[in-house]
């Protein structure tokens, strides 16, 4: 099975990678979009004083 990797995917905010598997006839058997990125805002904003949240979460995406 042939494997094609597009790494990284570009011109977007964030990280991404596409892996495509071709069968013996050269057709796409499976394709996977992988997001190799996580920072964990869901965790590290917990318990933060509420007035500070608007100063932290804009850093989720700056694009």
């Amino acid at each position: 099975m042939k494997r094609i990797e597009i790494d990284p995917i570009t011109r977007l905010e964030g990280h991404g990678k596409i892996t495509i598997f071709l069968n013996d006839d050269g057709n796409v058997e499976n394709a996977y979009l992988q997001i190799p990125e996580l920072r964990g805002f869901e965790k590290f904003v917990e318990g933060l004083p509420v007035e500070e949240i608007p100063r932290v979460v804009p850093r989720i995406c700056g694009v």
């Binding site: 190799p36 990125e37 964990g40 932290v56 989720i60």
Partner: protein, 317 residues
């Protein structure tokens, strides 16, 4: 000959990349002076293109973002090898930045919250991303999610630091012009920022700092012309490097320290505690305790951007 430049982001938001574009018409001057060979946010190059370059092929690499996973580290190592100069751009690469707040938790605590407990996630099987997956014909890999967020210079040798969250666009332009004008300072220097504290460029009126009460922003109607700290509102201006032009202050909010510590200070948070200690007006120990206890989240206030670069580094595990 044009400079060969690579621009990359690790654990970042892309704000630094946008700040480069926010140089407005100066972007044309940049395009005149440099050719870009990697910039995932804005142009289509692949990691393989970089791997094929001779070592030292690039004149400079601008790396924004913290080191959060093994991919961030691998690309940092790759760019270090391919580039003559390595510049840490923005708070995340410089001192850890907002992603560095995750060092208050362990890797497993973060993964559990995000993939299992999150109110907006349906994951009945409780699947957590794995580093490797395979079946008979196919295999996939993901980068390793580290336990500890690191600064860029904790994984590669860094030549210069361009601080800020994000760096002020014109400071990026002046830092880049240091490269093409051959005016770069001594290795290890901070570029595109001031040497003194933010207070030095803060337009607010400063008088005597004597604080007997600390206030959260919703507990007062702040005087828009008077120093935040003198009003009892915590501001990291005294311990933060100047260079931003007091952006937050001019928007009516106190400084949280994104430009990193002032010259010769390693630990921004401890320096802030020390600064606060010298202006608190209280004689009795219980009174001092009462005032200090009124700070709701000292760790994430004094070290908002700098936990990975601080002497604390992370929560003990």
């Amino acid at each position: 000959m044009k400079l060969k430049l690579g621009i990359y982001w690790g654990a970042a938001c892309g704000g630094c990349d946008v700040a480069i574009l926010d140089t407005h018409e100066k972007i044309l001057d940049i395009a005149d002076k440099v050719d870009i060979f990697l910039w995932p946010c804005a142009m289509d190059f692949k990691y393989d293109d970089v791997k094929k370059m001779k070592d030292g092929y690039l004149d400079a690499a601008l790396y924004s973002g913290a080191i959060r996973n093994s991919e961030n580290e691998e690309i940092a190592l790759l760019l270090r090898r391919k580039s003559k100069i390595m510049i840490a751009v923005g708070s995340c690469a410089h001192i850890g930045g907002i992603p560095g707040l995750a060092n208050c938790y362990t890797r497993d605590e973060v993964l559990k919250r995000v993939y299992i407990e999150s109110e907006s996630t349906i994951n009945e099987e409780g699947i957590i991303p794995e580093e490797a997956w395979s079946n008979d014909d196919e295999s996939l890999e993901l980068p390793r999610f580290y336990n500890t967020v690191k600064t860029l210079d904790q994984v590669v040798d860094v030549d210069y630091y361009l601080p800020g969250c994000p760096p002020v666009p014109m400071q990026i332009f002046s830092a880049l012009s240091l490269i093409w004008n051959n005016k770069l300072p001594e290795k290890g220097s901070i570029i595109g920022a001031g040497e003194k504290a933010l207070c030095d460029e803060c337009p607010r009126k400063k008088d005597e700092k004597r604080i007997s009460e600390l206030k959260r922003i919703h507990e007062v109607i702040p005087d828009s012309e008077k120093c935040f700290l003198e009003q009892g509102i915590i501001c990291l201006g005294p311990v933060t490097r100047s260079g931003c032009g007091a952006r937050c202050i001019n928007s009516g909010v106190a400084c949280r320290g994104c430009y990193g510590p002032v010259e010769d200070v390693i630990d921004q948070g401890t320096k802030m505690i020390s600064a606060l200690a010298s202006v608190i007006e209280a004689k009795e120990e219980t009174e001092i305790e009462r005032i200090m206890d009124s700070i709701p989240d000292p760790l994430r206030t004094f070290y908002r951007f700098s936990i990975p670069a601080s002497i604390l580094r992370r929560k003990k595990v």
